[in-house]
Symmetry: C2
Subunit: 429 residues, 2 copies
């Protein structure tokens, strides 16, 4: 990996390079995606099935578009016993962590008869998109379904593209069932997103769509935003390791590579105050590259977006980490918890040398759906908050309204809204 | 107002009619708006100033684009004393309600050395858009700035279009200052949204943009979503009154009109189990229409989107209210709090005959920026949650990782992510 001194200019160049990976940049497919979305909105099942045949090479119809109990049973037979067992263990932790995120309706009142509060209601129906293709991750299925289930969503429907033979990935079906999905449909791409957003004869309209996908899926989600809610649009994966001379270079190297293997757009960055560590990490990486299976992807990812930045001070290193706002941030320094208090922007923060990122991907419990590409400055990990909404509650007695009613009338009159004023006035005529 | 029996078909027709008002439907300006956004992104101040001259008829430059302390002092001199006084009273309530929404970082730990949690961080910088033109609402300025301030946002910048003479609305400037804005810029429309999203030499890049605006503003916000966060896109205002025979028809009528006066796209709906109430409300509306100033707007709004629906039972009425998911919902029935427990979808719920909607617009404390156009099914009122974000915290000791490390390695291997597996493995070699 290239080693660069952390300076204002190197930081800015790196930021610009990373942001170029943003899915928000890919404008070229917008027209194509909008056409698919509008066609499915208008022609519903007919269009959905036609696109599925065209893009997935699979003929589906009203009768077989929904995955049956038989198909799920078949998936359980095919799936590795070991995988099923580890899915069940992981689910215990994922559920436990999300249970702690539950929100409760609240109110406050005073004796004049004022009651104000917020009512929490789960979303009614949610759509989970699961991509097909080579990168099939049962762990992502768990991470998208569990928070919705914990939030109390009534119905969770999932869509995922079928294979040419109409078969679905068994690990995905099993993970979905274990996590508590209600219905699964054979549909992928922009056409699946449109079906979930507007509903078809077969696929019910949902209130929110979550889950990762390729550029067509991302653009379709953006197109339907407002008609339904969506999660944040996922970009390529990232890790930033913040380390000093106390860090174990072998651990740092292994963790950087664990993100770099995701795809060629993934980014692995080490920010360190120790040049010796930087050199040692590079050496470890060379060793790992000889033995790791996905070394071709890793090499390209490191060539494109891998960086080691040498900072003069830990304060500078922390500032760079906050600027980059990485999806995953590992802290392997002295006083790692103190360093954590200074972190403003990161999707998930892994503290200490045994808290490696794959622990969070699979097992610890926090969600692995995290804001990427600098969006940790304003977006959060997927969680229970994404599947509830709030309604304000306002209740005033006459006794409470009386002493303030003239003030409210004045404010309304000042804004020229005289029917607003009238609504208060009639109560005291 | 037209009186219709509540049936499956009338409900569906009404829903379709209301959804036609969605700002997500206005596709025709998209190209124009995207061009403005891209031009400002590229040419920054130069483009921003050129558009301000073109659209607002006002020449601004680097030196005068930011509102000065002198301009704010001048606004204080111009603004009505009475308005200032009521703004200050309202601010006490708005702040108090939003303080109750504050979120706190949390963690949970167990004795094997596992610590998991969520760190809450306020957004660093937020942009508040305030529209110009005829509908200038100082109350909206308060409602957009206060939750950001309470959340702990470091810097709040506001943009609003200047008049032809370069002057700003004094009530808006005063409201902004009272609510705690940091900097105010003279910029409006899609060009202001682009400037906030990408930054120019004069206007700093923000992390999130909130505030209402016309269709250009709404489309520009949609275009920059992903580069920054945005609030939900505001549609025309709405009220739904749920009432039985115990309701006061004069109050119901006055409250319906208070929303209808907003604009011709606004919607006022009464759902009631009492035909007698429906008739009485209609009579009261006729009386009010003779005296209310904004009767031309009100008449058009009622003609377009005003409905009285007669329901057989209160359960049917509640179901219709949940289907319509109104921005404002007033409950004037027996056992109004019991009815409230059955409400799933509404921006704000006003309970009892003295809890009229203008009380919430100006004074009670809950935010008046609410989800419109059926989006209360998945969006929430603006609040402190909109100005914070979460980072997951994961810390495992060696003692905690050891007993589960083989499970994690298995899960990673099952997904074919062998560098993930390696990251766990190196800790136990």
């Amino acid at each position: 990996m290239r080693i660069v001194k952390l300076e204002e200019s190197s930081r800015r160049n790196l930021l610009e390079l990373l942001l170029k990976r943003s899915p928000s940049q890919y404008g070229t497919f917008t027209d194509k995606v909008n056409e698919i979305v509008e066609t499915v909105r208008e022609k519903r099942d007919e269009a959905l099935f036609a696109y599925t045949e065209k893009f997935d090479g699979c003929k589906v119809n009203k009768k077989n578009v929904q995955v049956t109990e038989e198909e799920i049973a078949e998936a359980y037979e095919k799936v590795d016993e070991e995988l099923l067992s580890v899915i069940r263990k992981a689910l215990v932790n994922i559920r436990a962590f999300h249970e702690k995120q539950r929100r409760y309706s609240w109110f406050d009142s005073d004796e004049s008869g004022i009651l104000l509060g917020q009512k929490i209601t789960p979303l009614n129906r949610v759509g989970v998109y699961v991509p097909g293709g080579k990168a099939v991750y049962p762990s992502s299925v768990l991470m998208n379904i569990v928070p919705a289930r914990v939030a109390g969503v009534k119905e969770i429907v999932m869509t995922t593209p079928p294979g040419k033979d109409g078969k679905m990935n068994p690990a995905v079906l099993v993970a979905a069932r274990e996590a508590g999905v209600d219905r699964i449909f054979k549909a992928g791409g922009a056409q699946a997103i449109a079906a979930l957003a507007f509903g078809t004869e077969s696929i019910p309209k949902v209130d929110k769509i979550v889950g990762p996908g390729n550029i067509f899926v991302a653009l379709a989600k953006k197109a339907v935003f407002g008609f339904v809610s969506i999660d944040s649009i996922a970009g390529p994966s990232e890790i930033l390791v913040l380390a000093d001379e106390t860090a174990n270079p072998r651990y740092v190297a292994a963790d950087l590579l664990s993100q770099a293997e995701h795809d060629e757009m993934a980014s692995a960055i080490l920010v360190t105050t120790s040049e010796a560590l930087a050199e040692a990490v590079n050496k470890e990486i060379e060793g790992f590259l000889e033995v790791l299976e996905r070394r071709e992807i890793i090499k390209k990812s490191l060539d494109n977006y891998g960086h080691i930045l040498i900072a003069d001070t830990m304060e500078d290193a922390i500032e760079a980490a906050n600027d980059i706002a990485s999806e995953h941030l590992e802290i392997m320094t002295k006083d790692a918890f103190t360093v954590m208090t200074k972190i403003k922007n990161a999707g998930a923060i892994f503290i200490g040398e045994h808290s490696c990122e794959p622990l969070g991907d699979y097992f610890a419990g926090p969600n692995h759906v995290l804001p990427t590409n600098g969006t940790a400055k304003f977006f959060s990990p997927l969680g229970v908050d994404d599947f509830i909404k709030k309604s304000s509650i306002v209740s005033y007695s006459r006794e409470a309204l009386e002493p303030v009613h003239e003030d409210i009338m004045r404010f309304a009159a000042q804004e020229g809204l005289t029917a607003h004023r009238n609504s208060i006035k009639v109560r005291f005529e």
